[in-house]
């Protein structure tokens, strides 16, 4: 019996080629292509929950899926840049199929477009809406965006500077058991954090990661192959992903931030709940990210992380072991490798090789990743048992 197909193409579009795309941007051409393909398929844009895009030469070098998602007005649960030159279009189709079979999304739009203008020599690295509508107003960089989110949290919920500083305190404390951490032998009390300089009020210097050089790599293989490996395997039990916006001004309400979707999805896929998690390896570029992540994970009610962090302990032998490697706040952030540090620590803990910071009976870990300003979020449940 032949293997049954698992997916099908249900809509197409093709813009008439023109020599010069006067009056257009790459983003506007992408939007028109997507609009026509959705029309051809006879579905609505809200049916689309996956997006595969090509790299956009000239307009935005980073955060391409979030920029395109935000521009289109869709909130995908799976997105990626496919960067395979002339093979990109074909490459997108199997990725879409694989993602659907993996349960990450139901309907994927694959889109490639590019503008071409006469004398197209203007190649500034950023030509996206943030460059046009944020930067000219004095708002550049993540420190500003995360300060805006922190201020919103404080105003809407009444959370305090001490609440946020407590998160940085635990990161520094846990880093004292990790000789590789940038802040090893440099603990900080809540008072020290509050006394550190204001960078972008209400964010203090010690609530912000230290940029460092470094790197990380992870090898993933099939569960069958992993069974004969050198180490005790660490299994991917569940994953969730959600993207809601790119610019902080376009962020949804606090209780609709994307971790509120991605973390429950990961837990559900892993058929577990948050109380069964032994290690919380949560992305922490800023204190404010951990605050909303704890709330999104359902460890406390929205807005109540302050009470939660005051009433519990977060060391390796505490109530809720959190970022036992020190987190990025204690360990340092080696650019994109900083996010991988949360995966690496979870593997150490689930293998049972974390030494003097080993979490007792560590069977499941929740790992999170976050990009832009709580825009692109991924949650994983890793487990030591298949």
């Amino acid at each position: 019996m032949a293997t049954q197909a698992q997916s099908a193409i249900i809509g197409i579009s093709e813009l008439k080629p023109v020599r010069y795309s006067t009056g257009q941007t790459t983003l506007s051409l992408i939007a028109e292509s997507v609009r026509l393909a959705i029309q051809d398929a006879g579905i609505s844009k809200d049916d689309v929950d996956g997006l595969l895009v090509g790299p956009q030469v000239g307009e935005t070098p980073q955060h391409v899926p979030a920029t395109v998602s935000e521009y289109l007005g869709i909130d995908p649960t799976m997105s990626n840049t496919v960067d395979l030159g002339g093979a990109s279009g074909a490459g997108m189709i199997w990725r879409a199929s694989a993602a659907i079979q993996a349960g990450m999304c139901d309907t994927v739009v694959c889109v490639l477009a590019n503008k071409h203008e006469k004398g197209d020599s203007l190649r500034s690295p950023n030509r996206n809406p943030i460059r046009e509508f944020d930067v000219p107003f004095g708002a550049s960089g993540a420190n500003t965006s995360y300060a805006l989110l922190k201020r919103q949290h404080m105003e809407e919920y009444g959370s305090t500077q001490e609440d946020f500083a407590t998160i940085a305190y635990w990161a520094r404390k846990n880093a004292q058991l990790n000789p590789n951490a940038i802040f090893y032998n440099k603990p900080a009390e809540v008072e020290d954090i509050l006394a550190s300089p204001m960078i972008t009020d209400p964010l203090h210097l010690l609530e912000i990661v230290m940029p460092v050089a470094g790197g990380a790599a992870v090898v993933v293989t099939s569960a069958d192959k992993a069974a004969t490996g050198k180490h005790k395997p660490v299994y991917l039990k569940g994953a969730g992903e959600k993207i809601t916006h790119r610019a902080v001004s376009q962020a949804p309400a606090l209780e609709s931030l994307p971790f509120y979707s991605s973390i429950p999805r990961a837990l559900e896929q892993a058929e577990t709940n948050v109380e069964d998690i032994a290690l919380f390896s949560l992305y922490d570029c800023y204190t404010s990210v951990v605050a909303t992540t704890l709330e999104s994970a359902g460890l406390c009610k929205p807005g109540k992380f302050g009470e939660f962090v005051r009433n519990h302990t977060f060391g390796h032998n505490g109530d809720y072991p959190l970022n036992t490697h020190g987190g990025q706040l204690g360990f340092g952030q080696a650019d994109l490798a900083g996010g991988m540090s949360h995966v690496i620590e979870a593997v150490h803990q689930l293998r049972g090789e974390a030494g003097n910071r080993q979490v007792p009976n560590a069977r499941k870990a929740l790992v999170t990743g976050n990009g832009a300003t709580l825009s692109e979020t991924t949650a994983l449940v890793l487990g030591g048992e298949r």
């Binding site: 028109e32 950023n126 000219p136 004095g138 550049s140 500003t144």
Partner: protein, 136 residues
């Protein structure tokens, strides 16, 4: 100042917005199908995916959703103007935008009423926001 302040990177899609600011007018696109207002400017409606949008004069009024007092600017040209305030304004018409807030730190309050105040910073007029004047 050695490094110039970065002005807006105007596109063919957003040009009517910036032309409006030059003329002292705050304009938003409105969707002809779902009638919702849109910001930032686009070629289509992100709410209903209709592609017929009309530029309309907007109130230039809204509420301050959040703000930050910048002590260390992300762009070197802004550093010598610190401290200054940026914030997110929820416009009366619905959408939110990031802007420069011309209000002293001790006068700022969550959800306060703010209004457009066009300022020339560098070569471009920009839609900054200030405290809304009391109307009697």
């Amino acid at each position: 100042m050695n490094i110039s302040l970065p002005g807006p990177t105007i596109t063919p899609i957003s040009e009517p917005f910036w032309e409006g600011i030059k003329a002292g007018e705050f304009r938003l696109q409105q969707c002809e199908q779902c009638e919702r207002s849109i910001f930032y400017p686009r070629a289509h409606c992100p709410h209903c995916f209709h592609n017929s949008l009309t530029w309309k004069r907007a109130s230039g009024k809204g509420k301050l959703k959040t703000w930050s007092v910048i002590h260390r600017a992300g762009h070197p040209a802004w550093q010598e103007l610190t401290p200054y305030v940026v914030g997110v304004v929820a416009l009366e018409e619905g959408p939110s935008l990031l802007t420069h807030v011309l209000i002293e730190e001790d006068e700022i309050a969550y959800n306060m009423n703010v209004e457009l105040n066009i300022r020339h910073i560098g070569p471009h007029p920009l839609p900054f926001f200030k405290k809304q004047e009391e109307t009697i």
